[in-house]
């Protein structure tokens, strides 16, 4: 990943050296919101995706005023380099990255390998509850070109004008299961959006949690007809796994027109009358 590493990825070693530098804020965002308390990168903040990175009243991404408050409370200003990492090979770190880009934060990066690699390397963990000097953060207007809503996905499915990438597991894609094993079912029907290609998110990563090389990723997507020459929409169940795939296509492969459909299967699989393929 040498061509893109300096821009959007940092190594665990870089984080070990720079986590507490001025102008840098490391933030852990996990699927399991208790993971932060089991030990985190020293100096890191922890964000809870279920309460802090969404609208808790209506189903939506975090409202702008709530994001500004969160970033201010985390001591982040508009010039801070935000380094995100988390469990599950950075699922929700990518979710946070996507939202920060929607709101125009310039310098956001992901720690390659996430919590998995940090732990496997036996690096220091802290259980301290960090506090930060409050800042005032001003977000930019939301960039909706990074986000797909239902009508656009319906048009993409019907008209084949955009490539649809289903990043869930093959068993979810076929409708054999409705949710990842052990997690709650959140839909009425199983299967996938007609026309979608199955490219499970995990294929983006190596065993140690790091992202695969540019050449490997490019070849993998090209084999499914996803080359970046036409618009692409990624989806999963609730939008976090697909934000990782969105990150890969947009920021590691450099595709211009990539959107994350965060409504995902939880929306499509509950729609009355929506076409489904198995």
């Amino acid at each position: 990943m040498a061509a893109t590493l300096p821009n959007v990825l940092v190594t665990t070693e870089w984080v070990a050296q720079h986590a507490t530098d001025a102008g840098v804020r490391v933030v852990e965002v996990d699927v399991d919101t208790t993971a932060f308390d089991q030990g985190h990168v020293p100096g890191a903040a922890g964000w809870n995706w279920t309460t802090q990175l969404c609208d808790t009243l209506v189903r939506d991404i975090v409202p702008v005023n709530k994001l500004e408050e969160l970033l201010g409370a985390t001591g982040i200003d508009n010039k801070t380099a935000i380094i995100l990492y988390g469990d599950n090979n950075n699922w929700f770190a990518a979710w946070a990255f996507w939202q920060l880009k929607i709101y125009g934060h310039e310098d956001v990066r992901i720690m390659d390998g996430g919590r998995k690699k940090w732990l496997a390397e036996g690096r220091d963990l802290s259980t301290d509850k960090p506090s930060f000097p409050r800042t005032t953060y001003k977000a930019k207007a939301a960039d909706t070109s990074l986000r797909a809503f239902l009508p656009e996905v319906q048009a993409a499915s019907a008209g084949k004008k955009a490539g649809l990438v289903d990043v869930r597991s093959p068993q979810e894609f076929t409708g054999e299961i409705l949710a990842p094993p052990g997690l709650p079912e959140t839909c009425q029907r199983g299967g996938h959006i007609p026309g979608a290609k199955s490219i499970p998110w995990g294929k983006n990563c190596n065993d140690d949690g790091t992202f695969k090389s540019f050449d490997d990723l490019k070849a993998m997507y090209a084999a499914q007809g996803i080359t970046g020459e036409q618009p692409v929409i990624a989806y999963c169940r609730i939008g976090e796994r697909s934000s990782l795939t969105w990150f890969v296509m947009k920021h590691l492969l450099g595709f211009n027109n990539v959107k994350n459909y965060d409504g995902s299967w939880t929306e499509w699989g509950n729609l009355v009358g929506a076409p489904v393929e198995k």
Binding site: N89, L119, R123, Q171, P181, G182, R241
Partner: protein
């Protein structure tokens, strides 16, 4: 603090492939369980020994996995 006694292994549980990851931090053993595909953490527990943390996490994981339905396609 450095995490100690870090282990990561795969096994089958209630018909599903899972990953069990355990480490000790200070005096506490932390255990988390994830499905192998798609790789989501869905059960965790702490304990004063490895066995205690893992048995608690496995008990939760078993309960959750037994609720996962499979459909014929």
């Amino acid at each position: 603090m450095k995490p100690e006694e870090h282990t990561r292994r795969q096994q089958d549980l209630a018909g599903w492939a899972i990953t069990i990851e355990t480490y000790k931090l200070g005096d506490v053993y932390h255990c988390t369980i994830a499905n192998v595909d798609p790789g989501a953490r869905f059960a965790r527990a702490d304990g004063s020994t490895r066995e205690e943390a893992e048995s608690r996490a496995i008990e939760k994981a078993t309960r959750y996995l037994q609720q996962t339905r499979k459909f014929t396609v």
